[in-house]
Subunit: 204 residues, 2 copies
DNA sequence: GCACCCGGTCACAGTTTGATGACACAACCC
DNA sequence: GGGTTGTGTCATCAAACTGTGACCGGGTGC
């Protein structure tokens, strides 16, 4: 693992590991199930109570039941020893990739890239200039991909709720965003209108 | 998988699967690596270009290299056949838990899928367009499966209660919904008429 | 068998809804 | 101050939706 570019710290018991996880903030925990004291599955459960830290259970016990119990305990993967370092590394990467994308600032929908950290939007690698309101609207829609958000909600969240509920304000802003990010605004592929309800962001 | 509460659709080739993924918006894709035409790993790569859809590669080839290549292609897990359904289910849950995104509240009645978050209705994987009133009516019926809802109640809830109770309004709307979701509107399998009382939604 | 009631069906016009573009005003920046 | 940018509002238009009432047909009770 060290040779793969990871920095590794190991502990002999579950208690020890749990004690250090808070302080060290590792990217991932790899637990043996057979441990002195509390076993790996229980360690995994306790980690899950604390946070979303990715966990791999790595053990010699590969019964179906063990696997199911381990995964149900909140583990992201269950790997049976012996395992090639390269395979373990690939599995670690797969899990980290998934775990990162959840907290990542960048989201990609086909050609459209939304960088929530830098507050930048690019379409086909060309940067799109969005005004503050437009950006807030787009981010709000993207925060709930596939969900229909109604106008009242959008007015409350994107604008101050002090506005009259009955206005074409949301529509106008959606149009402006569409004009900028949709290849053909008349047939939008990102922001869809759901007549009578609101708008839905769903990637093409 | 169906018995575990999942709704499953399968395709014989990678091309076919890719074609349908956009329309069906599944929560997860489980791919065999050995496919006619483009192989599962390549399908996985193409899915990754589009979006974050969770992918499990499920295959008989369990060489270390295969596993590494599969995971590097963007798969979330690589499972070697044969596999116990319970184990696969546990792995699916672990990945969905981590992906977390695809937690839209969908209800499935055979071919009919109603997504209450996206406000989408699909029948046999084809999207059905319902008008706002039709959709509100269907959602209300679905909210009480197996129960008979009378016209006065439906008028009050789906429509403004300002309407006269004595009109063909509800009937007409039910007909319109039936025309769209019932394979044979004359012999409805979803929305049943209870003469003298109202309508009842009960899955076939 | 008959009258009657209830729900199915249909077409259409009036209404609602959202798209679009123009515009005025405010905020901001030199 | 003058230009520029951002934003809310409005008018207009096309498209979509929906209530209505008339008519039909089958089931129901007598």
């Amino acid at each position: 693992m060290t040779r793969q570019g990871h920095s590794v710290t190991s502990y002999a018991t579950g208690e020890e590991a749990l004690d250090h996880i808070r302080a060290r903030r590792p990217e991932i925990a790899i637990l043996d199930v057979m441990l002195p004291g509390i076993d790996g599955v229980e360690v995994c459960r306790r980690i899950r109570k604390l946070d979303q830290l990715p966990v791999i259970l790595l053990t010699a016990r590969g019964d179906d039941l063990d696997v199911v119990v381990g995964l149900e305990a909140g583990a992201d993967d269950y790997v049976v020893k012996p395992v090639e370092p390269r395979v373990l590394d690939a599995r670690i990467r797969a899990i980290l990739r998934r775990a990162e994308s959840a907290t990542s600032d960048r989201i990609t929908f086909g050609d459209l890239v939304i960088d929530r950290g830098a507050l930048k939007v690019t379409l086909a690698s060309k940067e799109i200039h969005l005004t503050p309101t437009e950006l807030r609207l787009l981010l709000e829609l993207v925060r709930h991909p596939g969900q229909v958000l109604n106008r009242r909600y959008l007015l409350r969240v994107v604008w101050d709720h002090t506005h009259v509920a009955d206005s074409r304000l949301v529509d106008a802003c959606v149009q402006r965003v569409r004009a900028k990010i949709e290849p053909r605004p008349a047939e939008p592929v990102f922001i869809h209108t759901v007549r009578g309800f609101g708008y839905r962001f769903s990637p093409p």
